[in-house]
């Protein structure tokens, strides 16, 4: 609360001069009266001549005293007027004001005040003709002001107008003027007094504000996003045209539109919860996606950016939301995911088919060939040592081919994963990789179910393969960690190294097909992939796959 300044009583001083003048006048009158009384009562005692002399002396003293008093009074008043003039001049300059007095009989027009600021005249007074004023007036305003002055004069009304003046340097100032005509007893206008205030800054600010508001209005109305402002209760208090178009509302509907009218039923509770948390000043996501519902009942995917609105006291009194329709993007994303899923599935199917062909057919036939060779050898009664040696060599080469085919088959499709499960296959893969690259991989597993959906096992196994191959190739270290953990409702895989690390965003955008592939594989089984890495600080690749009834293949596995 703003308190008025306290003014002490000593600041209030009554003007002593009128009282003093009255006292002196009274003394003079008393002196004259006393002298006349004395004159008539003492004439018989002191003689007529002396009497007259005293009388003249008293009158003379009184006249001198009156003159002195009058002189002093006028001087004091002149000083007072000068001070008042200075104050007025100061006030007019500070307030960018100009006063005028127009004598209609002579045509003389006298200006005073801050003429420098308003008219560019380097003086605080100017005396000219009324035509001089009209020359300063902006050409577009001359007729209007001339009419306003005439109107005030004719109708005896106050004159009020805002107009522009053009200074000698070409700059334009806006003035707000008020004045009055003064008339003779016969009703003829004699003079006009008035004052003009420079309101250029106010006009400019108002104009700038108006332009800014207009720009904002145009932006808000024509922006691609739907914009709404709501209050603490969540009621919409403003919406742009895009919002109305997006949801199929008319502007007249807006007052009665509720959250459930434009948010899909399964998202309403979440949206209310978010709003209430914001109103309570709690941290809440400002960027999120949800499903909306149009007036025609059609569902649409939306992306919102929400910011709280604060009042002058800093209290949250609502939110402003920019909403975008991302339905097409979502559909494209889903289509892309479907394509990705199909590609991965086709890829895996092809790998599995080739692996099975190698393992179940070609390798079996090689094995059978080796067996038949052995049986043929046993059927021959006598073999030369040289022939037996060559036979042995052929058998050995057959075994080697079978082993290579087996390895190729396993590389394409892990039979261990299929037959023994994720934990065994992952452990075995780590051991094989350790031996192959002469590195150390620390493998730990806890609580991994023996039976997992094939899709989940395969996704995690492929992530493990890709992550370990990447780590071996790029990390520059030889120690790696693999953790596989079965939790009540999810499977967790982490592949870590303390190597040189990388920028995941940069890598995904420029050369990260492997990372993208890992992410897609995990997403296809409803999981998520987190890559935590930065240059010089090692890498941890984490995959979380939920084990819920919605997980692909979960019903078959259970």
């Amino acid at each position: 609360m703003v308190r008025a300044p306290r003014i002490s009583q000593s600041n209030y001083r009554s003007d002593w001069r009128p009282a003093m003048a009255m006292v002196l006048l009274a003394l003079q009158v008393a002196l004259l009266v006393g002298t006349w009384v004395l004159f008539f009562t003492t004439e018989r005692y002191i003689g007529r001549q002396l009497h007259l002399s005293i009388l003249l002396l008293v009158v003379l003293c009184s006249a001198i005293a009156a003159f002195v008093i009058n002189y002093l009074w006028r001087r004091a008043l002149a000083s007072e007027v000068a001070v008042a003039h200075d104050r007025l001049q100061l006030a007019m300059t500070a307030g960018k004001c100009v006063g005028w007095e127009w004598n209609l009989a002579t045509g003389e027009d006298r200006w005073f005040g801050d003429l420098q600021t308003v008219f560019g005249i380097p003086s605080d007074t100017f005396t000219g003709q009324v035509g001089d004023f009209f020359r300063y007036l902006h050409p577009d305003d001359r007729q209007r002001i001339s009419d306003a002055v005439s109107n005030a004069r004719i109708h005896h009304t106050p004159y009020e107008a805002e107009f522009r003046v053009v200074r000698p340097d070409g700059s334009i100032r806006w003035l707000a003027a008020r004045g009055n005509f003064y008339y003779s007893k016969s009703g003829n206008p004699e003079r006009m007094l008035g004052m003009s205030v420079d309101v250029t800054d106010r006009r400019n600010s108002a104009e700038a504000l108006r332009e800014s508001e207009e720009r904002f209005r145009r932006v808000v109305q024509h922006i691609g996003d739907a914009l709404i402002v709501d209050n603490v209760a969540g009621d919409i208090i403003f919406a742009n045209d895009r919002f109305l178009d997006l949801f199929g509302f008319g502007r007249e509907d807006l007052a009665s539109v509720k959250l459930e009218d434009y948010v899909a039923p399964d998202f309403c509770e979440e949206m209310r919860h978010r709003h209430n948390r914001r109103m309570q000043g709690e941290a809440e996501s400002t960027h999120f996606q949800y499903q909306g519902i149009r007036a025609d009942g059609k569902r649409i995917w939306l992306e919102a950016d929400v910011v709280p609105i604060l009042d002058q006291a800093g209290r949250i009194n609502g939110t402003q939301s920019a909403i975008r329709d991302i339905t097409e993007a979502k559909l494209a994303e889903e289509a892309l995911a479907t394509i990705g899923r199909r590609l991965i599935e086709a890829h895996e199917k092809e790998r599995t088919w080739i692996a099975r062909e190698l393992h179940d057919d070609i390798n079996q036939r090689i094995a059978l060939l080796a067996v038949e060779l052995e049986q043929w050898k046993q059927g021959v009664a006598a073999l030369t040592p040289e022939f037996e040696f060559h036979l042995q060599q052929v058998r050995k080469r057959l075994f080697d081919i079978a082993k290579d085919v087996q390895a190729l088959s396993h590389r394409l499709h892990s039979s261990k994963l299929e037959f023994l499960g994720l934990a065994v296959a992952a452990n075995s893969f780590c051991q094989e990789l350790s031996e192959q690259h002469k590195i150390h991989i620390s493998f730990t597993q806890t609580g991994v179910p023996a039976k997992l959906p094939t899709e989940v096992s395969l996704a995690l196994f492929r992530v493990l393969q890709e992550a370990l191959h990447n780590a071996i190739k790029h990390s520059t270290v030889r120690q790696f960690g693999v953790e596989l953990c079965g939790r009540p409702d999810e499977i967790y895989l982490a592949v870590t190294d303390a190597g040189r690390g990388f920028d995941p965003t940069e890598t995904i955008h420029h050369r990260g097909l492997g990372l993208v592939s890992m992410r897609e594989r995990v997403q296809l089984v409803g999981g998520r992939l987190a890559i935590d890495s930065s240059p010089g600080r090692g890498t941890i690749v984490q995959a979380y796959v939920p084990l819920t009834p919605e997980t692909p293949g979960m019903s078959i596995a259970s």
Partner: protein, 143 residues
């Protein structure tokens, strides 16, 4: 079961499970050459194997691992429960330690790599029927 390694009727009743027809024929023909071995049935996948074992109750089961519909390891686990007296001998191309361990962990009596079946099949069946465990010579270093 007789202590001489033959079944109760003097024959070892064997069920052969392999989805590769040529190999399956080779096994059955090899076994049939032996006077005391009797091939009582054949199956081509894991599920069929489980069902046949329950029906036929063989003395010995020659079981591949890479089988359609149900793999040999899973089939072996179920057979172990359904017919605990049937001895299981895996006859497979799989030669990793994990696979061998898994086979014996579920209660198998023998493990033969297909490439060595020509010289080891008869020996393996006889050893197992005598109550011994058998593992292909090329895999013995794994156990």
């Amino acid at each position: 079961m007789a202590s001489n390694g033959h079944g109760s009727n003097g024959f070892v009743r064997i069920l052969v499970v392999d989805d590769h027809e040529d190999f399956r024929k080779f096994i059955t023909s090899t076994l049939r050459k032996q006077p005391h071995f009797q091939v009582i049935g054949e199956a081509q996948d894991g599920a069929e194997a489980v069902q046949s074992v329950q029906t036929l109750q063989p003395d010995l089961l020659l079981l591949d691992i890479g089988l359609p519909t149900m793999n040999g390891i899973e089939a072996g686990r179920r057979i172990r429960k359904a017919a605990p007296n049937t001895k299981i001998v895996f006859l497979t191309q799989e030669s990793s330690r994990d696979m061998v361990d898994a086979a014996f962990d579920l209660g198998a009596s023998g493990y033969i790599v297909k490439g060595q079946a020509g010289e080891e099949l008869i020996t393996a069946v006889q050893s197992v029927m005598q109550g011994k465990q058998f593992i292909s010579s090329g895999l013995r270093s794994l156990r």
